[in-house]
């Protein structure tokens, strides 16, 4: 009974942490490479986010299950082996069922292997906690990452094309800002959003 009363809030806090308090993009500044590279439009950002959720959940499950068997000096090797397996599966899946999106994302899907969020969660959470906590942590962090990517991509796609999800939303007089689809747009938008998040969380961390 005691376990049930304490586990609920812990799981809730673990889940919420990834969404806001420890958001990988806006609070921990992890996974900056895909954050800047695939956020020119919402569709590729969402695909990247979903791929990261899949890899994060699967790797956290495997790492959590083998946590008591891990040798300290071999753990990073085991994490990398686990992560690269699931990234390859995600890459094969996209190439088979979403070939256009796979091509659009290019090398950034295989590059999930070196995404710091995944190895960070394997080291900080899955290797020290049970299966349920690890899964909840992975889902929370994955959704947090995906939402951050989509917010960034939404702003950039709206300003660079006047569209969201490739549907026209801006009025006819709107002149698209081409720079927002370029790397400069990614840096400016990320900088402004980080400033906004810092302002909102000032004194709360």
């Amino acid at each position: 009974m005691t376990t049930k009363t304490t586990e609920g809030p812990i799981l809730g806090q673990t889940f919420i942490a990834g969404l806001w308090r420890e958001n990988p993009v806006f609070r921990l500044l992890l996974g900056m490479c895909p954050t800047l590279a695939v956020t020119a439009a919402v569709k590729p950002a969402l695909t990247m986010g979903l791929s990261v959720i899949f890899v994060l959940v699967c790797s956290n499950i495997v790492v959590s299950l083998m946590r008591n068997l891990l040798k300290p000096h071999l753990r990073i090797l085991m994490f990398t082996l686990t992560i690269s397996t699931f990234v390859t599966i995600a890459d094969l899946f996209l190439r088979a069922f979403q070939p256009v999106m796979s091509e659009r994302l290019g090398p950034y899907v295989p590059l999930i292997i070196v995404n710091c969020i995944i190895i960070c969660r394997a080291e900080a959470c899955a290797s020290k906690n049970g299966l349920v906590v690890s899964i909840v942590d992975a889902v929370g962090m994955g959704i947090g990452f995906t939402l951050a990517l989509c917010v960034l991509a939404g702003v950039r796609e709206l300003l660079s094309t006047g569209m969201i999800f490739e549907a026209k939303v801006m009025p006819a007089w709107f002149v698209p800002w081409a720079a927002m689809s370029m790397p400069v747009g990614a840096f400016i938008t990320l900088g402004l959003l980080l400033g906004l998040v810092n302002k909102l969380t000032k004194g709360k961390s």
Partner: protein, 200 residues
């Protein structure tokens, strides 16, 4: 003996996991690879039709042409004959593979029915650096190859791009050179095979 026991004790999980993950990847690959190949085939069809202006249909006319590639490695490719609506030969196409800056570059290259000029090329697959090397996919770079004499090409960084010379992409010289290298490796053997078969 004790060293082997120590090694196994330390690394059994790593060895076992490697086998399990390898098996998992083999299953995923076996399940989805036919679909990936089908996707590539559909893309190839689309690209060939886009490159040869009056293309109506095409078929493989010479299979498994051996091309002496980099470091003496033999690469196999098929030659496609592209026909127009009247059933006449509109050109030939083949897939060329070579090393790029980051990964292999796979191109679809087309030549005219007399094997005298290139009709152009498109990128079937590549993982070149976004913003730099991936500019080989852009029209500005690709149009340089349209109508150029089907022979050995040369990459230049300055000057006028004519008479078999192609201007490199600024900041992506390696990727540009890789594309030209693919053209040069394939073209002689491909034209020779077409002429031998009396297809031109």
């Amino acid at each position: 003996m004790s060293k082997i026991r120590y090694f196994i004790k330390q690394s059994w999980l790593l060895i076992l996991s490697s086998f399990c993950f390898g098996l998992l990847l083999a299953i995923a690959n076996a399940a989805w690879y036919p679909r990936i190949l089908q996707n590539e085939k559909e893309k190839l069809n689309k690209l060939i039709v886009g490159l040869v202006s009056d293309a109506n249909d095409f078929q493989i006319v010479i299979e498994d042409v051996n091309i002496p590639g980099e470091r003496g490695k033999i690469i196999k490719t098929d030659i496609y004959k592209v026909r127009n609506a009247e059933g006449k030969t509109a050109g030939f196409a083949f897939v060329g593979i070579g090393s790029g800056f980051a990964d292999k570059i796979k191109l679809v290259i087309t030549i005219d029915s007399k094997c005298e000029k290139f009709l152009g090329f498109d990128v079937l697959s590549s993982n070149e650096t976004p913003g730099f090397g991936d500019k080989i996919k852009e029209k500005e770079f690709r149009t340089q190859f349209k109508g150029i004499v089907a022979g050995n090409l040369e990459i230049i960084k300055a000057g006028e791009a004519k008479n078999g010379k192609v201007m490199a992409i600024s900041g992506a010289t390696v990727s540009s050179e890789s594309v030209v290298k693919i053209f040069n490796i394939y073209i002689d053997k491909i034209t020779q095979k077409i002429q031998e078969a009396g297809l031109d």
